[in-house]
């Protein structure tokens, strides 16, 4: 349920949902983002989904705030209606004709999806992600185990025994914010952030888990590394993840990590 739609500068608006980090609230954000993308509203320039808000950029020479916010409000109301009428349908699942043609809500003209990666398909994906939780990759696992008074094995089990939702990408191109971790894994950021976290490091902080796409400074507790490259600028689609994905981590050995194709 949309709580408010505010101006955000003179070329964007901000849609706020209930301000809480929660997979169900985030699912509503992603559903709204997808519905707006599918509606192909003339004048919408970009969207930024976050935990419980959606920023929608617009070109004021093509559409004005009052009109766009009303369109967004109606789209949001329509989603709530559809979700409640059909309890089996996940908020994310739309018609199969996603990624193709759709109607411009304002002009009625048929438009082709113009998302840069050629797809605005809104069905959720489940991705299985291999992680090596052993040295030399699990930089903070031993310290974390001591700190929390639970075994390293328990930490790994907690991290691999349920799926997590990708809430959003941000902080760096391709950095994924996922959750919600079980309470037993909750931890603080490192008191002294690392100057250099190795790329593909898997970390946890608060009730989030995430993966560093490139080497960068960072304060998350690093519990492992994935052999996957989650941000490859040389690829046509450089990003492995997108907001709304469902992620299942699984443990691999150091040998498997090194042998990963």
């Amino acid at each position: 349920m949309i709580q408010s739609i505010k101006i955000y500068g003179d070329q964007a608006l901000l849609v706020n949902f209930e301000q809480r980090i929660d997979p169900a609230i985030n699912a509503a954000v992603i559903a709204l983002q997808n519905a707006i993308e599918q509606a192909q509203i003339d004048g919408v320039t970009f969207q930024i989904p976050a935990y419980c808000s959606l920023t929608v950029g617009y070109d004021p020479s093509k559409i004005e705030f009052a009109v766009l916010s009303e369109v967004v409000r109606q789209i949001g109301a329509g989603l709530v209606e559809r979700a409640s009428a059909c309890p089996v349908t996940k908020a994310l699942a739309f018609d199969p004709s996603c990624g193709g043609k759709s109607k411009d809500l304002l002009t009625g003209r048929t438009k082709v999806s113009r998302n840069g990666f050629g797809t605005s398909c809104s069905t959720s994906r489940l991705l299985r992600i291999p992680v090596c939780y052993e040295p030399p990759y699990a930089l903070d696992l031993e310290d974390l185990s001591t700190q929390k008074g639970i075994s390293q094995e328990d930490i790994i089990n907690l991290h691999t025994s349920q799926t997590f939702k990708v809430y959003m990408l941000g902080f760096l191109p391709g950095f994924v914010f996922m959750g919600k971790l079980p309470n037993a894994l909750q931890c603080n950021r490192k008191v002294t952030p690392r100057l250099r976290v190795p790329p593909s490091s898997v970390g946890i902080a608060g009730l989030q888990t995430g993966i560093y796409p490139t080497e960068s400074p960072g304060g998350w507790q690093i519990i492992g590394r994935t052999p996957l490259t989650i941000f490859d600028p040389k690829k046509e689609q450089p990003f492995y993840f997108r907001a709304g994905d469902e992620v299942q981590f699984y443990a691999i050995s150091k040998e498997e990590f090194l042998a990963y194709a």
Binding site: F46, F175, P238
Partner: protein, 296 residues
């Protein structure tokens, strides 16, 4: 087709290729980047017959030294960083005919912070995600040719020449000091106390040296700032003014991260970001609150 090659004999302090920005990938954590002074970049392109979104070279304070291997038309706009071509003072806001072998260099900062160099023609560099703008952090892998380093070469295909144009002083962007820019209330504006709001608008701020394309930190801590909750990370757009937990205002600029979790007191009107781009550490800025209806 005739061409020119720019040979960067010196790179300068922070010299990058920028255009009007990389829009549409913020949901993947990719900042919009682009020229900090988009108006100056557009005008530079106009003066060489390029389309407004064509890439330009953004030059910050200390400029590069460039030898042109091949005749071409160029234009320099934005800050006055004392450009000279072969020791002759080069005019700003004017089409300049460059001969093969000419050397362009820059000197002292007379006015502003960022200058823009346009070269007429088709730039032979690859775009990344629909833009030629340098990607900050991880830029080497994604946009190596947009980050100017000593010794680099940039090739431009000359597809036409135009008759000399110039933009008169009255039509050139003016960079006043102190600068007053327009802002709209930010998403958390109503959570600030009246004292804090009044204080925010009652004084000028100097840009600290801890400022760059990602953001400008201002030299003050707002009074009576008592945050009572954590702002859950939310989308960030250039021009957002965040208040850190210490009460320091930070104006987020072109290369800012796309999400953030601090209180947002205000947003700079987009057109005024160009003027902000010409402020350097030590320069002063004031804020005026406007309503959306007042922004044309």
């Amino acid at each position: 087709m005739p061409k020119t090659t720019l040979h960067f004999q010196k790179a300068g302090l922070q010299t990058t290729i920028q255009d009007q920005g990389r829009i549409g990938y913020q949901s993947y954590g990719v900042p919009t980047s682009g020229a900090m002074d988009k108006k100056a970049a557009q005008l530079a392109n106009e003066l060489v017959g390029n389309s407004p979104e064509n890439p330009v070279i953004e030059i910050t304070l200390l400029g590069p030294k460039i030898q042109f291997l091949g005749a071409c038309q160029i234009a320099i706009t934005g800050a006055d960083l004392s450009p000279r071509i072969n020791q002759q003072i080069a005019a700003l806001y004017k089409t300049i005919e460059v001969k093969s072998g000419d050397v362009l260099k820059f000197g002292g900062v007379k006015k502003g912070c960022r200058a823009y160099l346009a070269v007429g023609g088709k730039w032979q560099i690859p775009p990344w995600l629909d833009s030629f703008s340098a990607l900050p952090y991880s830029g080497e892998a994604a946009t190596p040719k947009s980050i100017i380093k000593k010794g680099m070469h940039l090739e431009v295909e000359i597809n036409r020449t135009i008759t000399t144009k110039h933009i008169s002083i009255s039509e050139q962007p003016q960079y006043e000091q102190p600068l007053r820019i327009r802002v709209l209330p930010g998403p958390e504006f109503e959570e600030f106390s009246p004292y804090t709001i009044a204080y925010f608008f009652s004084r000028g701020y100097k840009i600290t040296s801890d400022s760059n394309r990602m953001g400008y930190r201002l030299d003050a801590n707002l009074i009576d700032f008592k945050p009572n909750r954590e702002v859950i990370s939310s989308g960030i757009i250039p021009g957002t003014i965040q208040i850190t937990s210490a009460g320091q205002p930070v104006i987020l600029m072109a290369d800012a991260q796309t999400v953030g979790g601090y209180y947002r007191i205000a947003n700079v009107v987009k057109a005024d970001l160009d003027k902000l781009a010409q402020l350097k550490p030590g320069d002063e800025v004031w804020f005026s609150l406007v309503r959306l209806e007042e922004v044309i």
